[in-house]
Amino acid sequence: MQFGIGLWTLQSTVSSPRHHARAYRELVEDAIKAESLGFDSLWLSEHHFFYDGYCPALLPAASAALAATTKLRLATGMLLAPLQDPERITNAAYEVGRRFDGRLDLGVGLGYRDVEFDGKGVHRKARVPLEIALLDSLIRYEGRHYNVWLGAQTEIGVRRAGARGLPILLSAALPVSFVRALVAAHETAWIDAGRPGGSKPRVSALRNCWVTSNQAEREVALNWYRASYIVYAGLGWGVTAGDGHSEMDFAHDVEVAIDGVAETVVVGEPDEIEDAMRVVADAGVDHVVLRIGIEGAEQIRIHQSMERFAAHVVPRLADVACAAVAQSSLANPTEHAS
């Protein structure tokens, strides 16, 4: 099993105010730290027109972090497809890929905020065809040096990815039971489409987990995880009801939604984290993105949790098989545009 870290949003929030330039400086520092600890990737996230400077342009930021590292992959979780000009973003992705030995994973998503669609002059109803058009542009670009992923949290979405042979990144808010169902749907769609790409495309999942033996820190970390979802009340995000879980509507019932997400959070000793990772692996996930960039928590705290995970959790999971290896997908992409 392999591990990345995320989501780096570059925000200056009401809970963690900071100069925007410091957020970007810390991104580069965090990338260097992640690489030194053996994490394979750092995942960024995109939104527009939000009070806290949530990063609206992921590839320049990714480029900066890649310039400071040599092995770490930078990934987008997710690049908002309907808001991009296909030529512009494809050229940008190509430039990042060729500069940095292909260390770019482009996770692409639909988006959900009307203000963003309206601000960029795109109709919400057009978001699926726009995403498909962008995927085609990205996948067909000759000589590309990046991987393409899809972000999805519904069966329809993961089936769309599977049918194209695309790897997927699943939200941290989803209970493991639903993750298991989505993994199965993704694989079934891939098989039904004739196994595009040859190898089963990768399944990655964001998971909320924090390593600590300190009881006081445990309570604080849980509290910060809850706080990290309040932003979604402002963004208007939600998770539709699925297998084993009810709807999470952060915009209209934030406390209930956060209570639902809190059940997915694992904070504790290395053996507790190990158990949680084994459950996720058993559900069919072969790559986990630790969701530890929470609400702009202090950099030193994030680094400490990363260090503990790398030192005390990763070695325990050496026996967990990884279904697909990310590095091989560069030379032989598992994607296939249908």
Binding site: V28, P60, Y94, D118
Partner: protein, 262 residues
């Protein structure tokens, strides 16, 4: 007058990086960074991490892309570089009216003010049916700088752009010494005496920032000629050439640090 580096836009990453790092080390004020549509801010983002003081003059083609999108990318690079971005706005594909609209929206987006724009080319926000969206948007994050400089290239001579926007001229006759910032762009010849005359001419016209393109035969290490001979030439009136006609000091031995700390 300050001197910066004007690079071709089609350099490979390793060649570009060598030029930019050398220029940064030598203290040139800025360097132009271009590239394919979409690649410009990615290149600048990478160079922001590996440079410390040089300004990144990002050349953007204005017209094909939503100016708010361009502003967002510029702002990210400005935050990455701790406030070192200049926008070189290439308006050559637009007529004056269209250029004014696009550059105007770009400036408004970089100002961190609410945008409510209804123009011939852009309506921001679009106010599309069925959207639950506000009547204005603010591009965020704001840049680090108080005001990101916007320098126009590819324009027809037009004196009515306001003080917030400078025009990059290719002839010293186009410099207006009454303006606070005046930008020129010129190739170097590689002949030291000729190049001294060139930079003195631009300085005499009232240029504040001169972007110089290196001769095709130069390597990045040749930028030392600019730093040693051309920058001082216009850093004072009647620069005494005896300063540079003396031999340069010897290079330090590679193990000198160990010697010092023995």
């Amino acid at each position: 007058m300050r001197i910066g580096l004007d690079l071709p836009t089609d350099l490979t990453p390793s060649v570009e990086t060598a030029w930019v790092h050398t220029a940064d080390w030598l203290g040139l004020f800025g360097v132009t960074i271009g590239g394919q549509r979409g690649a410009e801010c990615v290149r600048a983002g990478a160079l922001s991490t590996t440079t410390s003081t040089i300004r990144l003059a990002v050349q953007l083609r204005i017209g094909a892309d939503n100016p708010v999108t361009l502003a967002e990318e510029v702002s990210i690079v400005d935050n990455l570089s701790n406030g070192r971005v200049i926008v070189l706005a290439d308006i050559s594909s637009l007529d004056t009216s269209a250029a004014r609209e696009d550059v105007g929206v770009l400036r408004q987006a970089l100002s961190n003010r609410p945008i409510q724009h209804h123009g011939k080319r852009w309506t921001i926000p679009a106010g599309l049916e069925g959207h639950d969206a506000p009547e204005a948007v603010i591009a965020s994050p704001p840049p680090t700088q108080i005001a990101v400089p916007i320098w126009l290239v590819g324009f027809e001579a037009d004196s009515s752009w306001d003080d917030g926007v400078s025009q990059v001229v290719t002839d010293p006759a186009g410099i207006d010494a009454g303006q606070f910032v005046q930008v020129g762009r010129t190739p170097l010849t590689g002949d030291l005496n000729l190049d001294r005359q060139v930079v003195r001419q631009w300085a005499a016209a009232g240029t504040t920032h001169l972007l110089v393109a290196p001769p095709a035969a130069w390597e990045p290490a040749d930028l030392a000629i600019v730093a040693r001979h051309l920058v001082p030439e216009v850093a004072m009136v009647a620069f005494p050439h005896v300063i540079v006609s003396a031999p340069e000091p010897l290079p330090w031995p590679t193990d000198s640090a160990a010697t010092v700390h023995r």
